[in-house]
């Protein structure tokens, strides 16, 4: 294959955009055109809505899109995790059925992995799938499912063999969420928001053709999804930078993003809002208290050091060096920073920290920090799991002895 030239790609995408981009089109019509052109996902294979370009060149395409304000494929939610999983493990029929409507935004997706009985230990799932003729029959319960209430399809991990060891008895499916056997209920959190759902399956049906990978290989497929999730395709869409542009398509895109980002409105507060600390200390006068000053300094030192640690990791990566320990520490550092920030916000706010809502400091934002921070050390892998990962992969310490080997049927569980 001849070496693909950056300038050629740039010229080609520019020409295509000049001929096709029209902000007065509907979002779906434009994205259909985009999917067919291969410019929506230029690093995907040519057979499936891509152009087979190296990942490094997608930046060039993004730049050209940005320069004319062209809208890209739908990327919110877990749709790209679904797409990546199907590209790697799906059948041609599945790719044909699902990929295009992922890109156009016509279908929404959700991820059905976690269960009430299996949080950190995801492979302990007990939602069952039993084959009956041409259908798998699904029974059980999933939880922490973002956006399930407006999803069309779900990525489902379910147990198909109870006599196999736990990682070998699961299979992976695409399930239609909009069917009578699936009941989606919002899960209200301690901070009053409901960003997630519980999903109950009662004899829900999955056609046999929607098995992804082979029977018993569900864990392997799920690992692909999780790896993409860790790489950052987590559905947290940045607010559109095209705010000032006019055209039908931008209105539709804004509405889409608003819906997609709705569950995440409290996420900045969950991270502790370190950015507000010094401002708040000045506005309350707490900055004249020597003890508060010490605590603010401790927090800022931790937060700044964590930020620089992340930058060290990125810099090493850019230089093509093997990643050092600094690359595995971000999540644990973020938990520590969030907890410390909540403590300092309380110290600064004093008695008013007993209040919440619009009559409380910063229109309720401070109160929301205090009741949202406990999520950060749990979501996306608890601190305890992060510490195990760091200890085993970075420090090369031995694993704990296991008690969950042998047939899953005999493994102790909730």
């Amino acid at each position: 294959m001849s070496k693909i030239n950056e300038a050629e790609v740039r010229a080609e995408v520019r020409t295509w955009l000049t001929a096709n981009w029209d902000p007065e089109m509907s979002l779906v019509a434009w994205r259909s055109k985009l999917a067919d052109s291969g410019w929506a996902m230029p690093h995907w294979p040519e057979a499936w809505y891509g152009r087979g370009l190296p990942v490094g060149l997608t930046r060039v395409v993004d730049e050209e899109f940005a320069s004319v304000g062209a809208v890209g494929a739908a990327k919110s939610g877990v749709r790209l995790l679904a797409a990546a999983t199907l590209l790697e493990h799906g059948t041609d029929l599945q790719k044909k059925n699902f990929l295009r409507r992922i890109l156009t935004g016509e279908d929404n997706w959700c991820q059905l992995f976690s269960e009430p009985g299996s949080g950190s230990d995801l492979a302990g799932a007990t939602t069952r799938a039993d084959l009956n003729g041409d259908y798998w029959i699904i029974n059980g319960q999933k939880v922490w499912t973002t956006s399930a209430h407006h999803a069309d399809h779900g990525l489902l991990l379910a147990r198909t063999d109870w006599d196999a060891p736990k990682h070998e008895g699961m299979s992976f499916f695409v399930i239609d969420i909009r069917q009578p056997g699936v009941d989606v209920q919002p899960l209200k959190q301690m901070n009053g928001h409901a960003s997630f759902n519980q999903v109950f399956f009662t004899d829900a049906k999955v056609p046999a053709e929607n098995l992804v990978g082979r029977v018993g290989e569900g864990w392997k497929v799920a690992v692909t999804t999780l790896a993409h999730e860790r790489r950052g395709a987590d559905g947290l869409s940045a607010p559109s930078k095209r705010g000032s542009r006019t055209g039908r398509i931008y209105l539709e895109e804004r509405a889409e993003l608003e819906t997609a980002n709705q569950p995440y409105k409290w996420y900045p507060q969950r991270a502790g809002r370190v950015d507000l600390v010094i401002e708040r200390a000045k506005e309350t006068g707490a900055n004249s208290d020597p003890n508060v000053r010490q605590e603010i300094a401790k927090l800022m030192i931790m937060a700044k050091s964590a930020e620089w640690t992340a930058r060290r990791a990125r810099a090493a990566q850019q230089q093509g060096r093997p990643q050092g320990p600094e690359g595995s520490l971000g999540k644990l550092a973020a938990s520590n920073v969030a907890r410390a920030a909540a403590r300092v916000h309380t110290l600064i706010t004093g008695t008013e920290a007993m209040l919440t809502g619009s009559g409380s400091p910063r229109d309720g934002i401070i109160a929301e920090i205090l009741v949202s921070v406990p999520a950060v050390s749990i979501a996306g892998g608890t601190d305890e799991i992060q510490r195990n990962i760091i200890a085993e992969r970075v420090l090369d310490l031995p694993k704990e002895p296991r008690f969950d080997t042998g047939p899953f049927r005999n493994v102790r569980r909730n």
Binding site: R293, A297, I301, M302, R387, P401
Partner: protein
């Protein structure tokens, strides 16, 4: 160093977050030298001597690796590198706990002369420091133990052909073996930041009385120096003594923070290695989550402190306007981390960790002396808040 408008908008754009290949090679060369010359058997031997260092190793470190002048410009006999390289040296020295008058000569005295000295003074004083031919130190703190220059009381009085110094300096690093003294003093009848200036004199001058102090960390020797009308020369001029002294102390603080994270990393390695071989209850203790989780937390803390120390060194080398505040940030971070790491390293070793024969106490004591040397963490946190305008 000139800055473009763009870089002023985002200092982080200019500050490097990865060491260059050359810097990594430099670090490895120092590491190899120190593995060879500063095993703990040597550290233990030298810390028991009055001088506290090995002149033959000091000569090799100067001649083969040119370390004392690493940051001194070539025109004054140095290697012409900067703060980043100086801090690589101190980090490695902190890891190996080398007993040598490096911090006093290269970090304190040489930087004071670079910051304050006239062209003629730099040309006459620096080449001997860069070559390792002359040992030097900086005397700032007095009997009150304060690191804030405003609390300096030692008086410099103008006389014919120079000044005479009267007063007492204490906690002077390597003050017992230094040949050249740089002394922070104030003019008669001045207070606060006014009237502060730096002076130089030969340590063997008349009127200089030196007494070694018994230091808890025997790898960092301290002295008390009394000046009785000791003859001295003004270093630089009287106008910016306060700023040059502050600059020198801030640079030293960053170099110390880097030394400290080198020591903290060494202790972490030691703790991890030990928990992988120590067996209790039929398992290596490193397989217990109670131990694994603590080590993961310690790794995080050490890496964060390293990031702060490296960033401060880079910011200082780039003359980023924020660098003096970052000196405080890095020192406070390194102090807490080093001491916690040292205490945890003893704890993870169990009873053996509290014995004299186990090496952990060597670093524990360095961690303790570093915690207060150049200012306690609480002092630096308060200074950080002031420098950030909080």
């Amino acid at each position: 160093m000139s800055r473009t408008d763009e870089s002023r908008l985002d200092p982080a754009r200019r500050i490097q977050f990865a060491f260059t290949d050359e810097q990594e090679q430099f670090r490895s060369a120092i590491g190899r030298f120190l593995n060879d010359k500063s095993p703990t058997t040597e550290v233990r031997r030298l810390m028991g001597t009055a001088e506290g260092y090995d002149p033959a190793v000091w000569r090799q470190l100067s001649e083969e690796l040119a370390l004392p002048g690493i940051h001194i410009p070539e025109q004054y006999g140095g290697a012409g590198f900067g703060m980043v390289e100086l801090c690589i040296v101190t980090e490695e020295l902190g890891r190996a706990l080398l007993c040598a008058p490096y911090f006093s000569t290269a970090v304190l005295a040489a930087n004071a002369i670079l910051n304050a000295g006239t062209e003629a003074q730099k040309a006459s004083l620096l080449p001997d420091l860069a070559s390792g031919a002359r040992r030097a130190t900086l005397a700032v703190t007095e009997l009150n133990g304060q690191w804030d220059p405003q609390s300096i009381e030692l008086v410099a009085t103008r006389v014919e052909n120079g000044y005479r110094l009267d007063g007492v300096k204490s906690y002077v690093v390597d003050g017992h073996v230094a040949e050249l003294l740089v002394v922070a003093a104030r003019l008669p009848n001045t207070v606060g930041g006014d009237g502060l200036a730096l002076f130089t004199l030969d340590a063997n001058s008349n009127g200089v009385e030196r007494r070694p102090l018994e230091s808890m960390d025997p790898t960092r020797k301290l002295a008390r120096i009394a000046f009785h009308s000791a003859p001295a020369q003004l270093l630089g001029n009287l106008d910016d003594g306060s700023e040059t002294l502050a600059r020198t102390l801030d640079q030293a603080t960053i170099a110390l923070a880097n030394e400290m994270v080198g020591g903290a990393q060494k202790l972490l390695d030691s703790a991890v290695d030990y928990t992988k071989v120590r067996v209790q209850f039929g398992r290596t203790i490193g397989s217990f989550q109670a131990i694994k989780h603590r080590l993961a937390d310690l790794l995080l803390e050490v890496e964060l402190a390293k990031s702060a120390a490296y960033y401060a060194a880079q910011a200082s080398a780039a003359d980023d306007p924020e660098w003096p505040a970052l000196a405080c940030l890095a020192k406070a971070a390194a102090s807490e981390t080093y001491l916690r790491m040292a205490a945890e390293c003893i704890q993870l070793h169990g009873g053996i960790g509290f014995t004299w024969d186990n090496d952990t106490h060597l670093w524990f004591k360095r961690a303790k002396s570093s915690e207060v040397f150049l200012g306690q963490p609480s002092y630096h946190r308060e200074l950080l808040m002031q420098r950030w305008g909080v």
